[in-house]
Amino acid sequence: MQNILKIKNLNKNFGGVIATKNLNLSVLDGDIHAIIGPNGAGKTTLVSQIFGQVFPDSGQIFFQNIDVTQISEYKKSRLGINRTFQITSVMKSMTVSENIQLATDKIRENSLNFFTTFTNKNYVLEKVDFCLGQVGLIEANNQPVASLSHGDCRKLEIAMALASDAKLLLLDEPMAGLGPSETQEMIALLNKLKGKQTILLVEHDMDAVFALADRISVLVSGEIIATGEPNNIRHDSKVQKAYLGEA
């Protein structure tokens, strides 16, 4: 299998805080690759650098062998990278389907249609149905997002990420704030994507990570201290000392 994402010697400091330290990472095409690590380890900062919201001090990020280090956020989804946020970020005053519509490339590519709408075109309707179907939100189609539960909002974010047809999804703690049963639903939902969608999954929930990940990287104080298959990571002594032991 091929690398879809390759990060070389990435560094990022915020004032005195080292958020990313000499970081190297490869994500294989088709994998669910999990990033775990304690609070403040630099997981979100890593995602933001891959997505172009934060730029590294040094180092390089390659997506499908193209150097995308300096490419800014709004161009990333055109290249095929998309992300979700640790803190839910959706269009609250709009309906569920409008949120998905905005995430489709058809609306984005035709954003200067001033007098016609694509929202009733078959390919947009089908896409909305498909994405909502994937996350089990079909019935909520025309509901305003404001009326959704937190759990459903998190599912909506996944659906939006899917609607973008991204080749690489960066999910920043999709289980954050979910109850036990909602977490199980989210695990099942992501499990359905396994093998079909390349995902970089940042997550605190260890059950989720070990249930879903093909590979895991452990990030501590901006540094990746281990990368490997779940079983190897579980038994890695460095990891146990630095992270799993205290959890």
């Binding site: 709004y74 995430a103 954003s111 694509f118």
Partner: protein
Amino acid sequence: MQFIKPLKFFILASLLVFPILFNQIGMSFYLDLATRLCILAIAAVGLNLILGYGGMISFGHAAYLGLGAYAVGIPAHHWLYGGLDFLATTNGFVHILIAIAISGLFALLTGLICLKTKGVYFIMITMAFSQMAYYLFVSIEEYGGDDGLVINTRSEIPLINLDDPIQMFLVSFSSLIFFMWLVHLITKSNFGLILSGIKDNEARMVSLGYNVYFHKLIAFIFSGIICGFAGVLLGNFTTFISPEMIDWSRSGELMFMVILGGVATVMGPLFGAIVFVILEEVLSSITIYWHLPFGLLLITVVLFFRGGLSSLFSK
């Protein structure tokens, strides 16, 4: 989605029929009032596109009304008194083209800067730019400075005589309907969907891959051009233009209409303009301090009728 519902259609029909009827029985005052109302409503429709649908609170939109009116007054002035031959004309189409070009350009240049800011800064900087336009016209002696410029000849348009109050009214009324329809169409388009997305969650729209700044700028320019067109009508209606029309308090009145009527609705700007024009007439005949009860009303609306007046009609 229906463009206009029956009750609203009735309101529009009344706005069309009654002023003309009153005029026929000798009360031309109401026809003038209705014409002014339609023109202000067009400007409010223009402002609503960015304020209501796009969440950009511009406090400088009276500038476009002024630019549009000067686009009538200045060519007419040179046509009568000479000078600047390339500009001298009474041709209405040329006036409209100049108004569109100038207000579009002003929106482009100021928008490039204003849209780098948000919130209160955006409000202040749009106001600052419109005050710059204000002082520019105050300083140009040739066009009357702060005394203003009398527009001796109205724009000439084939088959239409703007000197006839009824025709002036009909042109204003049909322009209003046209722009209400146009803005409605835009808000239902892909671009409109994106604009509401930006209003709701700008950061998310950026990460979805939208060039937010560019889309806001386009909406800002559209909005300015609509107000510029309203200015052409206003100049023709009042046959007089002065910097006072650009003053920030005028911009505030436009904001008042949009918010009072109900932001992001088709009919809102019209409702707002109706209430504004009526209140202005009634209150200013009672007290010169009519802005005070005005402000109180606006606060009441903002606090108790979140959707503005049009929310009362849509229930």
